[in-house]
């Protein structure tokens, strides 16, 4: 099993506080992501964006959230056997947890390198598999935490702050 942590500079304290003080989220949204479902995939990201928009979240934050969640959602349908996506909305941030059904990431560090991809042909033909999924998630989030390994389920969580 491997573990990867990314905390955006200047957000370390806020993130540590988040994990130390477990408070209940104001809104919880749950989604099931199907395997190779390229028709409805993207729904979770779109609905989460809409929910945050109704709460008055800044458009630049909405865009970052939509892109990060969309890439995570596509990863679950394209690379994994689907899984569960949970969105926890707090007053100051959104926390997304993706828990897929495997087969896991062999080398997380390598999968963070832009251009590295293990996507199959079907996925590439649809315009995915550029090897930018995880790098795009990292670029748009304040926290990215991944636990995975070959033959394991992948656990991915992200946090994006509203300010």
């Amino acid at each position: 099993m491997g573990e990867y942590w990314y905390k955006r500079e200047n957000f370390e304290d806020q993130i540590d506080k988040f994990f130390n003080e477990s408070t209940d989220p104001a809104i919880v949204l749950d989604y099931t992501i199907g395997v190779r479902d390229f028709v409805t995939s993207g729904n979770a990201a779109a609905q989460i964006k809409l929910t945050l928009k109704k709460l008055g979240v800044d458009p630049a934050i909405l865009r970052r959230t939509a892109i990060a969640v969309y890439e995570a959602e596509i990863n679950m349908t394209a690379h994994a056997q689907g899984g569960e996506l949970k969105c926890n909305v707090f007053p100051d941030c959104v926390h997304i947890v993706c828990h897929d059904l495997g087969p896991g990431i062999k080398d997380i560090e390598q999968s963070m390198v832009p251009g590295y991809s293990t996507a199959e042909d079907l996925v590439r033909e649809m315009g995915f598999g550029a090897g930018l999924g995880l790098p795009n998630i990292k670029k748009n989030t304040d926290l990215l935490h991944i636990i995975s390994g070959e033959g394991e389920r992948t656990y991915l969580e992200i946090i994006i702050y509203f300010e």
Binding site: F38, V39, S41, G42, A45, A46, K49, R63, A66, I67, Y70, E71, I74, M126, G127, F128, A130, L132, G133, N136, K139
Partner: protein
């Protein structure tokens, strides 16, 4: 550039009914890679692409797309056109390639979107 001018320049056809052809297109981007499109689109952008799967229309739920021009004579299936109509997203098709279409529009003054 008005949608009407874009249609004429690319000898293109509009696939979604009811679009106001006098709407102004302010910038454009061309790619067949979804991750690139997501990262490079930060303002209302006319997207030129050869991808015709449902995800290309779904992208407009995440980012600000002004419309989509399908190049190389591609026409998406009706259910994808219906998805676009639901989202009031203009869809256009041209026989020209991505390179030729982009060159023509750029020469007419249509700038690249801010990336």
């Amino acid at each position: 550039m008005k949608i009407r001018e874009l249609l004429e320049a690319l000898e293109a056809e509009i696939l979604t009914p009811g679009v106001d052809l006098d709407l102004d297109v302010t910038c454009a981007f061309g790619s067949d890679l979804i991750s690139d499109i997501l990262m490079c689109t930060k303002e209302p952008t006319m997207l030129l692409t050869g991808l015709t799967n449902p995800q290309i229309v779904r992208l407009s739920d995440m980012i600000d797309l002004f419309g989509i021009v399908f190049v190389r004579g591609k026409v998406p299936p009706q259910e994808i056109i219906d998805m676009a109509i639901e989202r009031e997203l203009p869809l256009i098709t041209t026989k020209y390639t991505l390179y030729r279409s982009s060159g023509i529009l750029y020469n007419m003054g249509l700038r690249s979107c801010k990336i």
